[in-house]
């Protein structure tokens, strides 16, 4: 089979995997804390895209019964249900991380991981 066709066929899965890795790359390489949080969000959407793509069906319809439907082909409703939960969870984690960023900025005066490490090394623990 033609490789291009394969790619087009699996484009959602490939996209999901790529977004997961791009997000992970952002988290690993960037030192800015807010960038790291965005990276986590991108990772999350990558996984969600992968999940939703599993449920998709060529020529299917969204799983909602309407009047006058006869033997419709529905897409898989389970991934949608799971991802609804997943999105809300990822928002909660994001907000908690953001609140920590605010506090880190107020107490240390920086949101850069490298500078943070330097400041923390200079300060002798005083308790």
């Amino acid at each position: 089979m033609n490789i291009l066709e394969r790619i087009v066929e699996n484009i959602n899965y490939l996209g999901g995997a790529a977004l997961f890795l791009i997000g992970l790359h952002t988290v690993v390489t960037h030192t800015n804390l807010i960038k790291k949080i965005i990276g986590i969000n991108i990772m999350g959407t990558g996984v969600f895209l992968f999940f939703i793509a599993i449920g998709n069906i060529e020529g299917g319809t969204p799983p909602i019964w309407l009047e006058g439907m006869e033997n419709p082909i529905f897409v898989n409703p389970v991934p949608s249900a799971l991802i609804l939960t997943g999105i809300v969870v990822s928002v909660s984690v994001t907000v908690y991380l953001l609140s920590l960023v605010i506090r880190i900025f107020q107490t240390y005066g920086t949101i850069d991981q490298k500078e943070l490490a330097e400041i923390m090394e200079q300060e002798v623990p005083h308790d």
Binding site: I11, I34, K35, I37, I42, T45, I57, I83
Partner: protein, 79 residues
């Protein structure tokens, strides 16, 4: 429809890379907001309207507002 799907995924990947490379956090978040909106469009194409609605309201709306709120209290530029 298949072509549109491919274009959307490519757009998403480009957006994600752009977010990573932008030094200005404000622009990065605006791009991320657009990314979320495109993601919800993609989910509409994949026949998951419930998820698309939620993502449009939460991912593109609330999350970016929260990011803006935090940026207004911290720094705008990445070193």
């Amino acid at each position: 429809m298949q072509l549109f799907n491919v274009l959307l995924v490519v757009f998403l990947v480009v957006c994600a890379i752009a977010v990573e490379r932008t030094k200005d956090l404000l622009s990065a978040i605006i791009i991320f907001s657009a990314y979320s909106l495109m993601m919800s469009l993609l989910w509409l194409i994949l026949k998951a309207p419930d998820v698309a609605l939620t993502e449009a309201a939460i991912g593109a709306g609330v999350t970016s507002l929260l990011f803006f709120a935090v940026i207004s209290k911290t720094k705008r530029y990445e070193k």
